[in-house]
């Protein structure tokens, strides 16, 4: 019998709150199915199972905050015999990360998420709780980004304690409601402080003529309806992913004092959250996707990230991050590596610059790329070659 556990979604995550089951005991699931929603400092995360089989039973009540690694459910593998009732051991009480709100009746299918009232912003978990408790979201004052209603806001509205005092002698834990910007800032601070403390960064920059990209995109997009058009950012993602194949020292994880290169290239896409905050979920296998598929994936990923619906694998899997402040008016950005990754590539805004081509000066569209990389894994020489490779790939967008 396999256990479906509270996932670790980054080095800074210690616990999460189970807020919704998307399956019920007896349901068949397969590898990659989204079966639960948990709330963390990173927001509401849809959690996939990596075990195929039948959901045998739930081990944790909805509404409970538990440490990373806590078994949440049992999944009986395909071909595995169903245990007789007498053989089924009673589930041990899950370790609670902190006393939590009184749990609603366990083991019942979760009701569908209530649609938010027009004009009311709310996290999916908050909408679900509001539906469950019969609360009109429009009557709840939100404390999330730009007034969005969070899980804790709904808890307060129904009179349940959002975060009861910790047991004597136990440090009080901060509640982590969905897209709570304060909580997200704590998570960002922890990860970035760790990165600056532990990772010996080095920084490089390289200016690239992206006129060929602009010309190619203009021609391609002219023949496409808006929902199929590409942005220049997708070319950046693809070229970084392809360059990672040739330069594996920038793609992978540094753990337990050693570097683990990754065969797969899962590019983390830095997404700014409205009102503040940042997440960098993965676009899986970015090196293998066509530009059209990559663009569709990026649109979906950005929309879900901003709506607080990231999937667990998207949080845990990025092997390198790409960040672009695009039109925000800066020409270069120097990123901080998100541990345990070992590199982040930054793209500034495209600017018009005089440029020498074939001995003549002319106006060209130029972008400044930067690399922040981990000196425990690579050196500046390799970093320079890596950036140059990205620049070279950007000269031939039709071959991406």
């Amino acid at each position: 019998m396999a256990e479906f556990r509270m996932p670790s979604l980054g080095a800074d995550m210690e616990a999460g709150t189970l807020v919704q089951w998307l399956v019920k005991p007896g349901d068949k699931v397969k590898h990659g199915d989204i079966i639960a929603v948990v709330e963390t400092q990173k927001g509401a995360i849809e959690v996939e199972t990596f075990q195929s089989g039948t959901v045998e039973k739930f081990l944790v009540d909805v509404g409970t905050e538990v440490p990373v690694g806590t078994p949440l459910a049992e999944i009986r593998g395909e071909g595995e015999a169903k245990p007789k009732p007498a053989e089924t051991k009673p589930a041990a009480a899950p370790p609670k990360a902190a006393p939590s709100a009184p749990s609603p009746a366990p083991m019942r299918p979760a009701p569908p998420i209530a649609p938010a009232a027009p004009g009311t912003r709310a996290s999916p978990a908050a909408r679900r709780l509001a539906e469950e408790r019969g609360v009109d979201l429009a009557t709840v004052s939100g404390t999330g980004p730009e007034g969005a209603v969070t899980y804790a806001d709904v808890e307060r509205r129904v009179g349940a304690p959002a975060a009861p005092a910790a047991a004597p002698g136990e440090p009080e834990k901060k509640r982590a409601p969905s897209l709570d910007l304060d909580a997200m800032r704590v998570a960002i601070a922890a990860a970035m402080a760790r990165a600056k403390r532990e990772i010996p960064h080095y920084y490089l920059e390289h200016q690239v003529d992206v006129t060929p990209c602009e010309q190619w995109l203009a021609e391609k997009n002219a023949a496409l309806p808006p929902d199929s058009r590409l942005l220049i950012g997708v070319l950046a993602l693809k070229t970084v992913a392809l360059a990672c194949r040739r330069f594996p020292a920038f793609n992978g994880f540094y753990r337990d004092n050693k570097f683990e290169p990754s065969e797969a290239v899962h590019t983390g896409v830095a997404v700014a959250i409205r009102g503040g905050g940042l997440a960098a979920p993965a676009l899986h296998d970015a090196d293998k996707l066509s530009l059209d598929d990559l663009m569709a994936g990026m649109r979906d990923l950005v929309a879900r990230t901003r709506a607080g619906r990231i999937r667990s694998s998207e949080i845990a899997d990025p092997t390198i991050t790409v960040s672009s402040l695009g039109e925000r008016g800066v020409e270069a950005l120097y990123g901080i590596i998100y541990p345990p990754q070992v590199a982040i590539v930054g793209f500034g805004k495209v600017v018009q610059r005089p440029w020498v081509i074939d001995g003549a000066i002319g106006p060209r569209s130029v972008v400044t790329m930067t690399l922040s990389a981990d000196h425990r894994v690579s050196d500046g020489h390799a970093g320079a070659l890596f950036l140059a490779e990205i620049g070279r790939l950007l000269q031939e967008p039709d071959k991406l």
Binding site: R121, N221, A222, P226, R229, L231, G233, V302, E327
Partner: protein, 85 residues
């Protein structure tokens, strides 16, 4: 569609992208990228929404004409009127 109807559509679709913004307080002549903090993905989503809602395929070359609320309303009005003729 009247000018008011088109303005309402523009404001509704921008509000879908920036739900926390009170569009009534946005200067209709202000650059939307600054006024309501939208990026290239948001702007493409806005263009896509207008396409789906009004059947208006706006080419990239015309994007600069739609970077303010007034500009977007004027552009869409002109395109819809020319389509009728």
């Amino acid at each position: 569609m009247s000018d008011t109807d088109i303005r309402n559509v523009v404001q509704e679709e921008l509000n879908n992208i920036a739900p926390e913004v009170d569009m009534a307080t946005v200067d209709p002549k202000a650059d939307l990228r600054e006024a309501i903090d939208i990026d290239s993905m948001d702007f493409l989503n806005f263009i896509t929404a207008i396409h789906h809602r009004l059947g208006l395929d706006i080419p990239e070359l015309d994007y600069p004409k739609l970077v303010t609320v007034d500009g977007a309303v004027a552009y869409i009005t002109a395109r819809l009127n020319s389509a009728k003729q």
